[in-house]
């Protein structure tokens, strides 16, 4: 079966595709703004040790960076040096310990503990050393920033936040201890008021009184049954920047929900009041218009946190603006995924802007939480073509044909039909 893993796309080609501004060290994306940098902006390897210098930087101080699509598509499992990163506090100064893909020092791992408490009669402490002695399971799952694709919303109206395209995601294999059985075995004797699990990690805000990144989940959510306290990523100890030595992995849930550097787990009656849970990473429950409803209007009643992934598909090949040969047909290839609760059933492509759709061949070997790879060979004349891609799952959930209909003030959960224009020669 043809795959794109070995497709070579060098930096020069990428920069060319990314636009003219790239030549000056600036990357100009469609829908994005030309970025006003001085020439000596640091590259990703200077911000986070071990990251590829080709990463697209969204915020140097916070270590926020995106994978160029041409690199992302080369691997079935996303390597740590090109995996996107979103941290919420500076990765310099007091936060510099986070800024590496190396694992934590053995002494740190040995002394790391997690306090499990809340509305329980018997709070317990578990150590990472203990976890490592327990039976572990593997989960192959998509990790994706809730802001991934935000830049596409900007065709309708600007939102605050970084202009992610499709590279704020990766496909990874995590290894760790199943969470729910662990909580049960700890014999905490929780109150019958308990409805939520709350997780907090070692990272702290750089200013006094700043909101901490704390997350809460409904205990009955199906993905929590598959959650693990992970200690390994892609067969190695978790890179520090990605949450090592221990990260809560809730497969099918957006990145911010997968708390890094876990130090505290609480069983609670209410979700955390942290502004990073209650004021952001939330979508209004109804359609809102730009400027008429802002992130400050979000309440616990009128909005929902960015929990499970919206169903989504992305074209990996050809990429936007790419020139491909048409002889022997053009192989359309990409990935698709959803929240993992039910399987994807089909990925369809359209070559006439949605009038007719054709099915593709689907590979579910990383299901239910990992990427489904799909492909279809099509005959195309020489010239410019636009392909649309749409995934459908067993509950009939699909992507909006016009993704702008789900515009929201935070620019979260882009999952519009992917529309890609490319050039075919010599058909």
């Amino acid at each position: 079966m043809p795959r794109v893993y070995n497709t070579q796309i060098d930096r020069r080609t990428f920069l060319k595709l990314a636009g003219a501004g790239a030549a000056a060290g600036l990357v100009r994306w469609p829908g994005g703004m030309p970025l006003a940098y001085a020439a000596q902006s640091p590259d990703a390897s200077q911000i986070i040790t071990g990251k590829s210098p080709e990463m697209i930087i969204h915020n140097a101080k916070l270590g926020v960076m995106e994978t160029p699509l041409g690199m992302l598509r080369e691997h079935r499992l996303t390597p740590k040096n090109i995996l996107y990163n979103r941290t919420h506090f500076p990765v310099e100064g007091a936060g510099k310990w986070m800024a590496t893909t190396a694992p934590a020092d053995p002494d740190v791992i040995k002394s790391w503990t997690i306090l499990v408490s809340g509305l329980v009669q018997r709070p317990k402490t578990i150590s990472v050393a203990d976890l490592m002695q327990m039976d572990m399971v593997k989960r192959t799952s998509v990790m994706q920033c809730a802001g991934n694709g935000r830049a596409y919303y900007w065709a309708k109206a600007k939102t605050p936040g970084s202009g992610w395209h499709h590279g704020g995601m990766g496909n990874l294999t995590w290894e760790g201890v199943p969470l729910k059985p662990l909580l049960k075995n700890l014999d905490l004797s929780p109150s019958d008021q308990v409805r939520f699990l709350t997780a907090n990690g070692k990272d702290v805000p750089p200013v006094k009184g700043g909101a901490d990144l704390i997350k809460s989940y409904h205990l009955e959510t199906p993905q929590l049954d598959d959650a693990i306290l992970a200690v390994r990523m892609n067969g190695e100890p978790i890179p520090t920047i990605h949450g090592g030595p221990v990260r809560l992995i809730i497969p099918g849930y957006y990145g911010n929900m997968n708390v890094k550097w876990v130090t505290d787990l609480l069983l609670m009656d209410e979700p955390t009041p942290s502004a990073l849970m209650q004021k952001t990473y939330r979508l209004p429950n109804r359609t809102v218009e730009p400027g008429k409803f802002t992130t400050q209007d979000l309440t616990r009643e009128n909005s929902t946190p960015t929990y499970g992934f919206k169903i989504m598909s992305v074209l990996f090949s050809p990429m936007m603006g790419e020139k491909v040969s048409g002889s022997g047909g053009v192989d359309l290839q990409g990935v698709a995924w959803n929240d993992g609760v039910v399987p994807l059933t089909e990925v369809r492509v359209s070559l006439d802007k949605g009038k007719t759709w054709q099915t593709t061949e689907l590979d579910d070997s990383d299901a239910p939480y990992g990427w489904y790879h799909w492909h279809r060979n099509v005959n195309l004349d020489s010239g410019v073509h636009e392909v649309w891609v749409r995934a459908i799952d067993a509950w009939g959930r699909s992507q909006p044909v016009n993704g702008l209909t789900t515009w929201n003030p935070g620019g979260w959960e882009w999952h519009g039909v992917d529309r890609v224009r490319f050039h075919v020669s010599g058909a």
């Binding site: 970025l35 006003a36 911000i47 510099k96 200013v207 909101a211 952001t280 730009p290 802002t294 400050q296």
Partner: protein, 229 residues
Amino acid sequence: MPYFRLWAGLLLIGVCAIAQAADIQLPKGPGVNLVYAKCQTCHDLQYLVDSKGLMAAQWQSVLASMQDYGLEATPQEKKTILKYLTTYLGPNPPPAASASAGGQTANVDGAKVFKENCSGCHGPNGKGQPGYFPPLAGNGDIQRDRAFPVLVVLNGLSGPIKAEGQAFNGAMPALDHLSDAEIAAVVNHIRTAWGNQSRLKPVTAKLVAKERKRSMTPADVHAYRADMH
């Protein structure tokens, strides 16, 4: 949240990246200095550049969120910041360089420059914030070497330091958008304010211009400081 106990171990893993914020220049206009001063404590200015084009209601909402994340600003300062953002980073910004707010004049008020650019972190009386931002009042470092505070303002400073017996490990951003005259004035101000006494010759704009030519990272300034001791 008890995170201190981890640092020692985690720092041993040999993090050697020279983390430095991207040097992003904002359109000049009234209030821009306050934006530089307030908005780089937690993130760099790429967020602002990327959010260019937000409507007034959206910028207002952003500013309100930033208070949740720890922004400290007086109501007047917030008004100034909001006015700047909605004017220069709004949907219809005026043509560039129409308003030059850069105090290029010789008579710059160092106390005013301090208030607008430095007091957000170092405090109105230069006392800093324990555990977060070092004090300038009584801080011997600023009196040791004529150029050192100039280099800090021009290039930023990151890495572990001690000041007045307290440990800090922050990352001050470069404030190199300030003019030579403004930097000279603010350095001369902090050297003599709040009971500080200086035996050094006052800094001149010419000296700042000279120091501006050597390009240093915040880590280089940290090394310069270590050599000074």
